[in-house]
């Protein structure tokens, strides 16, 4: 059943609707609830396929559903419609506006209504696709404050990496932090790249969602085997590689590559002079789990993230 979670009037003959589709079991009570949210950043589209594919598989065997699945494909519909990462008209990052305020400004009120609707879920998956600049292997990111509760769930999600990172105050404005700190377990998935859909990653994650639904008693059917993710936890440090100079980034290696220290990940070029400005090399042996896709770089632009030691 499709329900409008938030409605706000826009200036000229249009309302903004944030909608969800609720899939309910055919018999019995509502059971436990799993919520799938995506489309917070209008340039991240990987979650669109996940919402579709998950529903298709549930619809094929609806009698196996024993709980409630709420699917929110577009928290930022105007952003999705206009290839805009933030909230158009305000130039705000929606994922820095949570938990919002019910009597606050439009964006804060919208954020508060979204949080209110999601609270009480037994599990929430917040699906992102990095941004238009970076490609990521399928991974779950967990704030260390919530690791004890989330790590066992993340291990079932069929991702390649679980990255437990340290807390930063600014991250307290994210949807995931707002939900986790209010008792609704929320996993943040990052995979693929902005403005594209990587079907294989979507299918991989949908398998993981079925495994999680089975764990929670929301799904009674057979579930696929899931892969055991590499888990990175503090104090282990992820290596960040930033562009030492501005130029055009030419990627040599794809995300997921195993690296030896000294391997060339790519080069930064100067097309005006026909020169290589620098070769970017791996500082350590490791696993390339993020790599830059977008060629134009400023000095400082993120080029890669490497998990030292590599795949274990």
């Amino acid at each position: 059943m499709i329900k409008t979670v938030v409605r706000v009037g826009l200036p000229v003959g249009e309302d903004l609707h944030i909608r969800k589709n609720r899939l309910s079991p055919q018999t019995g009570g509502p059971g436990r609830r799993v919520s799938i949210v995506t489309g917070t950043h209008g340039d991240e589209l990987e979650g669109q396929y996940v919402c579709y594919a998950l529903q298709r598989r549930i619809q094929a065997q609806p009698e196996l559903l024993r709980g409630t699945v709420d699917i929110y494909p577009a928290l930022n519909p105007l952003g999705l419609n206009s290839v805009t990462r933030g909230i158009p008209g305000f130039d705000l990052d929606m994922n820095r506006s949570f938990p919002g305020q019910p009597d606050g400004d439009m964006n804060e009120a919208v954020a508060a209504e979204i949080v209110q609707d999601l609270l009480g879920s037994d599990l929430c998956l917040d699906i992102h696709a990095s941004n238009i600049f970076l490609t990521e292997i399928p991974q779950i990111r967990i704030n260390e404050l919530h690791a004890a509760q989330l790590l066992p769930l993340a291990r079932l999600a069929n991702v390649d990496l679980v990255w437990v990172h340290s807390n930063a105050t600014v991250l307290e404005s994210t949807l995931a932090y707002s939900l986790n700190s209010r008792g609704t377990p929320t996993l943040v998935v990052e995979m693929g790249v902005g403005m594209r859909i990587t079907k294989s990653y979507g299918d991989q994650l949908v398998d993981g969602i079925f495994r999680l639904m089975a764990e929670l008693g929301v799904w009674r059917g057979d579930v696929p085997e899931v892969r055991a993710p590499v888990v990175s936890q503090p104090p282990e440090e992820v290596a960040f590689l930033n562009a030492p100079v501005s130029g055009i980034w030419l990627k040599h290696l794809d995300h997921g590559a195993r690296l030896r220290a000294g391997d060339v990940l790519g080069e930064i070029l100067d097309p005006l002079r026909g020169q290589v400005l620098c070769a970017v090399t791996a500082p350590v042996d490791g696993w390339l789990f993020t790599v830059r896709e977008y060629p134009v770089v400023d000095q400082g632009s993120l080029l890669a993230r490497i998990l030292p030691g590599g795949e274990r």
Binding site: V8, G9, G86, D103, G104, S173, V245, I248, Q299, S301
Partner: protein, 311 residues
Amino acid sequence: MERQIVYESRSLYRDDFRVTGFAFGQGEPAMCIVGSMRGNEYQQLYICSQLVRRLGELEAQGRLVPDRQILVIPCVNPYSMNLQKRFWCIDNTDINRMFPGYALGETTQRVAAGVFDQIQRYQYGVQFSSFYMPGAFVPHVRIMKTGYEDREMAVRFGLPYVVLHAPRPFDTTTLNYNWQIWDTKAFTLYTASNSRVDRPSAHQAVEAVLGFMADQDLLRYHRHGSFYLSRVVESEDMIALRADRAGFFESFVVPGQEVEAGEDLARILDPYLGTEQSRVTAPAAGTVAFVRDEAMTYESTTVVKLIPSDD
């Protein structure tokens, strides 16, 4: 006056990115003033340019107190100003959400780190900033309640209001917050406008800063123009009035105007029919602190803020 490069980096196809500062006097780093950090903060740049001009004249007249240095950085983000884009050119990040910065991090983290490295030793810090929503403010000094804030000193700018603001998580990466954490007495000044130059309000801001400097014995100077006994208000005590409908927005009031309880402040017109759909009415007597200045409004958007009367 010494012109200096506070931070620079090279670009592939554009001129070098340069943050330019203007230093007056030599000695103890006494006061730093930072202007536009976003590409649409023209008023902030204009005010700083006028401050540079006035400080240059006052320095030539020998009015600077010896052994104190004043630094003015009119613009931290010329790249975005030249594109008429509010945030960073490539990735749309906000430099004022990157402090204290990280010299080995992403581009705007590096800009923040490079600038902060040069300005964090100052005793006083003033930033001219803007609100994320388009509108006009009553001039005020805004300080974050970090535990280090100095509200008595904020009053010395002589602007009509001092607004105390409890920081939210996303405020912890602003310049004002980080200045305070690193022992600079930090004040953010809001004037009437943002992307349009408002000369009277810019003049008031220049006089406020020069007067503050005279008060802190950095400058021998007599204020020109009005000096207000600022009223200190908590930002959560301000009354935010939201549009209950979307449509054309017509304001009847201007910032600084006193209004009575029940007074109509604005109205919203149907975008097709031209008829009035709703009115924004003052729930209590007070002073108009903020008015939206766009032609249209979304529903549920703050269009007017009131500072309630204190009696």
